[in-house]
Amino acid sequence: MTSPSNSTQTIDDFTDGDYKYGFVTDVEAETIPIGLDEDTVRFISAKKNEPEWLLEWRLNAFRNWLTMTEPHWAKLHYPPIDYQAASYYSAPKSQDDGPKSLDEVDPELLEVYKKLGIPLHEQEALAGIAVDAVFDSVSVATTFKAKLGEMGIIFCSMSEAIQEHPDLVRQYLGTVVPTGDNFYAALNSAVFTDGSFAYIPKGVRCPMELSTYFRINAANTGQFERTLVIADEGSYVSYLEGCTAPQRDENQLHAAVVELITLDDAEIKYSTVQNWYPGDKNGKGGIYNFVTKRGACRGRNSKISWTQVETGSAITWKYPSCLLIGDNSVGEFYSVAVTNNYQQADTGTKMIHIGKNTRSTIIAKGISAGHAQSTYRGLVRIAKSAHGARNYTQCDSLLIGDQCGAHTVPYIEVKNASAHMEHEATTSKISDDQLFYCQSRGLSTEDAVTMIVNGFCKQVLQNLPMEFAVEAQKLVGISLEGSVG
């Protein structure tokens, strides 16, 4: 790439890689003035034509939120967030007419997906993925619904589910993450604008990966997505969530809530690739990502598996968790968190063992480069009732350069003596020796880093569905461009 005498320069060039997906799309948005009070909540609820019980539910959450304080126990540093400075509703105008098919979708929206390399048309045809695309808080395209409908599978936007399947929504919404669970979950419950809903009926194995692409667009619009996935007895579903966001200067707040429920013998595999705008190389801008994701294995022999690849966002606060209530239920958490430049990630999981013979596996890989700070924070709790529970935890950190940090904070609480717990942790560094060795075999620094990092993450990436795994490998490489030290 350059002569050896200035390969430090090379390293800087590599770390200074700009966000490849930065752009803002000009779509006529219907946005309410900034600020948050009960009227904002009422406006959103009215705008979405919601039933009275849901408005009450939102207001209850809002009042709860007012009494709560922002949590600051995570190893994250950011200026105070002014919750009154954001606008809480924004929808592309063309949505009012409701597109009946892709042809009716705003061509500019489709263009955005094209830039991201996710052309909807091709995706439908080639990947066989039903895409419920969330663009600026409102779903603009839902596909494959008819086919799924034949099997009794419901896959639609949360707004639509509230209208079409109110009983299911009412039965399950907020039962895994209650409105008062935490500061961000309460905020989300009050002002969520849309999200995705999936219900897999008894005994049905969902024949395709369900997929949602999230995207923040209009400036200063916080994203408050709400996702609810229910796998009824003996059913199976694999759900993919992936996001990228346009480049901008101001910090954006994102506080999503995801709830998963598995009944007897059911399984949900939930995979995420998160690539929100991480801020520039000086730490300016970037998304604040405060997410509450939790799954409840309510049934016997049920399973919930989280796989996440987190490469974006300036701030990540996220702990996808499992409540292992049913006997013999299984929880899994596979995570890769890549932080570069001034990104900060505090992420991990909670495995709460309640039922007998419940098992959980945690594999967390943190990669830090530049001035980034990456923290694994996890809780494994074995309740008194959880006879024969088992947990295996592995936390590995990889450092690139000497300005970044990696931290591991595992909490273990065991109240039943029959539990088996294993915990392993390592910290390593990409050395100059390794890089030179790769270079001397003809590989560029970028390729070498990508290869070493992908090797480091393999255990996690191999849990992703095929089409995501390839994308994730590329993403990991792109995210670390310019990071070698």
Binding site: S3, P4, S428, S440, G442, L443, D447, G455
Partner: protein, 251 residues
Amino acid sequence: MLEIKNLSVAVDGKEILLGIDLTVQAGEVHAIMGPNGSGKSTLAYALAGREGYEVTGGSVLYQGRDLLELSPEERACEGVFLGFQYPVEIPGVVGMNFLKSATNAVRRHRGEAELDAIDFLKLVREKAELLKMDEKLLHRALNVGFSGGEKKRNEVLQMAMLEPRLAILDETDSGLDIDALRIVGDGINRLRGPDRAILLITHYQRLLNYVTPDKVHVLAGGKIIKSGSSELALEVEHEGYGPMMAELAVA
């Protein structure tokens, strides 16, 4: 093939090489011998372009081009290969994948078609067989937990796959038992050819029993103090470096 003129190299501000002159023609094998700390590995790293090995004077022409202008990976793609004295362990990276990425990076650079998985595997098996290397090693993380001999054989395998024009082997013979030494020697001999040049860096004469060099140079104190035919290696073996260094001091 390789023309080194008055090359001086410093590491951390300390001059290690003090004006090396060395010309290697295509088809030749040169051995560089010398006592510990004489600058042999420094020469190897400087030619491969390692960061921190600062060229403070002189020039290196490789196939008529200024070698020092090129980045390490460009040098590798142009056919310069460095066999490491201490091959590096890379956890998580499977040897086979590493070898495939490297082979195809070099092939791409040469404008050759990349090898697909099947052709690649066929070629690797063929080359590994010649080196009596267990294929299982290639399915493990690169060099991780390999014995000294396994690491060195792996270096020679990489060399065989990359088909370099100029191979610099830095003490590839150290840490090898006598059988492994013969196998590695055979591997080097197979690479000999009219278009290739090989620079063997070694402490001892014993590798030279298997690979007969066209020329032998003795490097001491950052300079080549004596050059000669393969006989010179035997002289070193019998008398050590002492006499010729004393000779130099007198002169």
